[in-house]
Symmetry: C2
Subunit: 325 residues, 2 copies
């Protein structure tokens, strides 16, 4: 019997809450406990455990590496929040805001090392398989963040570049989470490559849906404020596609709304959405989301395990697709 998604999420949350994240000097560890003990969906470690079990592995043996991946993810948020000067995350003060930049740098660095410490808690012969994957991924996530920052001041970002940026910044980590779970179940290389492909495509789809929801979600369901990407002039898929399809007048309208700070925020968002609607960029985004999901499920179907063993992970991926997770 496979464990249910609900069981796995609860299991991960309880186990993370049990980790003390304490040490000397206490000031170094307080921001780590603050960051790690705030609950959350734990999507990435859930993917690790679900993949591990799908390939017949024991979720208890994948637990610590899964927690390592979650610590790494949270480390990137702590440092990103400094770089983006973001005061809030999930309605709580970010580490650099609550303490200061130095604390956020150093506690973040410690989390990075801790992530490796948890990751290393597996069998030696499996460690040699998961470590190079994790290293490459950690580097790629940094590359993605660098691109994201560079795009802020560039005016010639292409959609291909944008997709590559979100692949690096957001898709490689869930893909690695899945592949790590598969490796910890001792799955063959062919299958671990397939599940990595699943993760990349689900990750890309997930980010594109996020771009759409930022503009089109019902405020109360989304949990973030609507139109934030427009106000912060983020070059999302919607924006880049709109620029690509726009006539001269529409391009001028987008430029005006994105660059002029004296337009009231509500009006700005409204005017940008009008252009987006005219150009059907939401539909374009969903077309691409469907493409990625097709690729994901093609790879998923090709994985060489009994159909029954796939059920929980399949359910989870569909939840991610419908954003009911």
């Amino acid at each position: 019997m496979l464990h249910s998604i609900e069981f796995i999420q609860k299991f991960i949350n309880e186990e993370i809450d049990r980790q003390p994240f304490e040490g000397y000097p206490p000031m170094l560890y307080a921001p780590i406990a603050y960051t790690m003990h705030q609950g959350g969906k734990r999507m990435r470690p859930a993917l690790t455990l679900l993949a591990c079990e799908m390939f017949g592995g024991d979720i208890h043996k994948a637990l610590y590496p899964a927690i390592g991946i979650e610590i790494f993810h949270n480390f990137t948020l702590v440092h990103d929040d400094i770089m983006d000067q973001a005061p809030l995350r999930r309605n709580r003060e970010t580490v650099y805001k609550k303490w200061n930049t130095n604390v956020a740098i150093l506690s973040g660095d410690t989390m990075f090392a801790l992530a490796y410490d948890y990751l290393a808690k597996c069998e030696p012969e499996l460690l040699a398989r998961i470590l190079p994957l994790f290293n490459r991924t950690a580097i790629e996530v940094c590359e993605g963040q660098q691109l994201d920052m560079e795009f802020e001041t560039r005016h010639d970002v292409t959609i291909d570049e944008y997709i590559e940026m979100i692949r690096l910044k957001t898709a490689v980590l869930p893909a690695t989470a899945l592949k790590t779970g598969a490796i910890l179940a001792n799955a063959p290389d062919n299958d671990t490559d397939l599940i990595y492909t699943v993760g990349i495509n689900v990750g890309l789809a997930f980010q594109l849906i996020d771009d759409v929801l930022d503009v089109y979600a019902e405020q109360d369901k989304f949990g973030k404020s609507i139109g934030n990407d427009i106000l912060t002039q983020k070059k999302t898929f919607l924006y880049l596609k709109a620029i690509e399809l726009a006539n001269e007048h529409q391009r001028h309208e987008l430029d005006t709304c994105f660059s002029q700070s004296d337009i009231p925020t509500d009006e700005k968002i409204h005017r940008v959405i009008q252009v987006y609607d005219r150009l059907n960029v939401k539909e374009e985004a969903y077309r691409l989301v469907d493409e990625y999901y097709k690729k994901a499920f093609n790879a998923f179907d090709a994985i060489n395990v009994a159909k029954g063993a796939k059920s929980e992970l399949e359910k989870f991926i569909k939840k991610l697709a419908s954003r009911t997770f």
Copy 2:
């Protein structure tokens, strides 16, 4: 035949210079190449290779992990320079100063991941031995940096606390460099523990000598400006020992010099040195240095390899002791 120290240093420097440290986006990698390709003594990777060869290992098999340790060391400098707001290092602009804080944070993070990537380039069964050691060390170095920052604003730092801080901030990494070399030569645990002890004690002695040289070195030989620790109010061993031994008048004199910014710098340094001289704190420091060196050589002598195999590492440690390295 053992390779000479000179050969090993040249070998490491050439191999590091051969690493491109290039990638996409280039802006992320430029500060990494800038940091890594500036030569230097490469003390830590040299320790790894010397230890590896002492235990009969092949230095070529230890090269990449040794480079990983050097990348890690340089990563800590990049982040420390942000936290300490240090504009110069070895007479060159620091990364955060030459680029900006965000670049220094993110390129630093990438270096941290790269360090692990190089470290992982060894045999799987050895990886499982060196990785937990490296993880613990990385965490300890962060703890040391945190303590160092906390001591800046504390007025009750004890000498024991100071020694623990420099153990974490500066001694554990050379110790780990040595132990990693020993493990890569497949040395038994007892010997790898002994060489770690050698490293800790040499590292502590090295830092104490540094404290002394900051005040007493001949300007042109030291390569840093004299009295810098006094001007930045660093609570070094000399200062803490002086506070411990001082009478009321001397303590008042130290307090005045350390806290008042309107005293000309030359006068300030001169007055502090007068108190130090009266209290013989330089001699106290060297007494402690000798103690650490005795402990280091006791452990070194107990290592179970032929005396001839120890010669190059022994020479190197003695060079470190006399600061002729």
